[in-house]
């Protein structure tokens, strides 16, 4: 074969070699088959730990009770016991270092998520104590009259 025909072949072989060398440096050491097989478990092992290290935002009632035991106890003995603190108070990450972070949601919209009356047969929603938004103290904040930690008590 003539030399000028072979020349592009060397270029192609050189390119493939360069890609293989670059691959050695670019692909992390922990990349490989780590799960049950190649189809489902071919990945970078370190990523599992990266996801485990993702910051937790919602701390749970156990974290709240450490300082706010009175409020938590009041809540626990009320009909609102199933409602998590952070559903209204917001995720407690960074609290109490930065108290400003916890902005309490006192809006009527928050209460209406459960207590707006939807007339649905066979649905638990219709069983909840609820109001028709436009007929009950329109635009007034619910907490002006109702205590969210013990809704049977009136704050008025």
């Amino acid at each position: 074969m003539k030399w000028h025909v072979l020349r592009p072949l060397w270029v192609a072989i050189g390119l493939i070699g360069a890609i293989l060398v670059a691959r050695v440096f670019l692909v992390p050491d922990d990349f490989g088959v780590h799960g049950r097989n190649f189809t489902y478990g071919y990945h970078r092992l370190g990523n599992i730990q990266e996801w485990k290290d993702f910051p937790v935002k919602y701390q749970g009632r156990e974290a709240c009770i450490e300082c706010h035991d009175e409020n938590v106890e009041a809540l626990n003995s009320s009909t609102h016991t199933a409602v998590e603190c952070e559903n209204c108070h917001g995720p407690a990450i960074g609290h109490p270092d930065d108290v400003e972070l916890l902005a309490i949601d006192t809006t009527r919209d928050l209460c209406l998520r459960c207590h707006a009356f939807l007339e649905y047969p066979n649905s638990d929603r219709a069983e909840l104590i609820s109001i028709v938004d436009r007929r009950h103290r329109r635009r007034k904040e619910c907490i002006a009259c109702h205590d969210p930690h013990d809704p049977t008590e009136s704050t008025r």
């Binding site: 489902y40 996801w51 995720p91």
Partner: protein
């Protein structure tokens, strides 16, 4: 060529036996497969959704978005709640505005006011990643950026994902989306950072009605596993063969 009756019977029986031997009896296991077959994992995450308990407050969607840093006002979410209203004329009205993030507070669906007297049944169905045993989204990833962990959760490697979107197309449940900030594929991972620390996923913790629960399906003493194994549960799109691990109690035929 001569063939006695004895020889003929021998050959016939031998040939039949050889032909029924499955091909799988001859496959060789790779090292990883052999290891996985011997060291059986004792942890496999699963999820139970009780649709009869959901009231459509949407607090799970809100919590998920906050917990997992999904832009709050972007039209993407890792979990969502659908509303189904079946009227007497046989039509099913379905909606999920912003994934049900702000809860369902009015009877109006897509601008249409529905008369309560016309309603046969109405219910809410929370949806999230099914953490399939045969995840289609993982099979199609061209770079190995999404994978299944040994405890059954499908994760996305944000450093490795090239954002091609194949997995978003492949998922039969539509749970994957393009993350507007990180510019990679994103999905529910049962709050992997929480469950690996012994906590509940954010949506489970924030559900006041017990409609969402997490289970270790390999632990027979797990109370939620007991419900999954002993009660009548269903999965979504069983016919796709993806073996989803989110189980539903009270699933209606209208739910797709």
């Amino acid at each position: 060529m001569s063939c006695s009756r004895r020889d003929f019977l021998k050959e016939a029986v031998g040939g039949t036996l050889a032909s029924v031997l499955p091909l799988s009896a001859f496959t060789f296991l790779s090292t990883a497969e052999a290891k996985a077959a011997i060291a059986e994992s004792t942890l496999r995450w699963a999820f139970l959704v009780d649709t009869t308990k959901c009231v459509g407050c949407g607090l799970c969607v809100k919590a998920c978005k906050n917990e997992n840093e999904i832009p709050y006002d972007a039209p993407v979410t890792r979990t969502w709640v659908e509303r189904y209203v079946v009227t007497k004329d046989g039509t099913t009205h379905i909606d999920s505005p912003m994934g049900g993030r702000d809860g369902y507070t009015s009877m109006e669906i897509d601008g249409e006011e529905i008369d309560p007297d016309d309603i046969d049944k109405a219910f809410f169905v929370p949806k999230l990643c099914n953490q399939c045993d045969n995840p289609a989204c993982v099979q199609v990833c061209p770079v190995g950026a999404t994978y299944q962990t040994n405890d059954g959760v499908v994760l996305v490697d944000r450093d490795w994902c090239i954002g091609c979107g194949y997995c978003i197309m492949a998922c039969p449940y539509g749970v994957r989306f393009f993350h507007p900030v990180h510019k990679v594929a994103d999905k529910c991972n049962f709050c992997y950072h929480r469950i690996s620390k012994g906590m509940e996923p954010a949506c489970v913790e924030c559900c006041s009605f017990g409609a969402r629960r997490l289970a270790n399906i390999k632990d027979p003493d797990d109370p939620v596993t007991k419900i999954i194994t002993t009660e009548r549960v269903a999965v979504l799109k069983d016919e796709y063969g993806t073996k989803p691990h989110v189980f539903y109690l009270g699933l209606d035929a209208n739910v797709r």
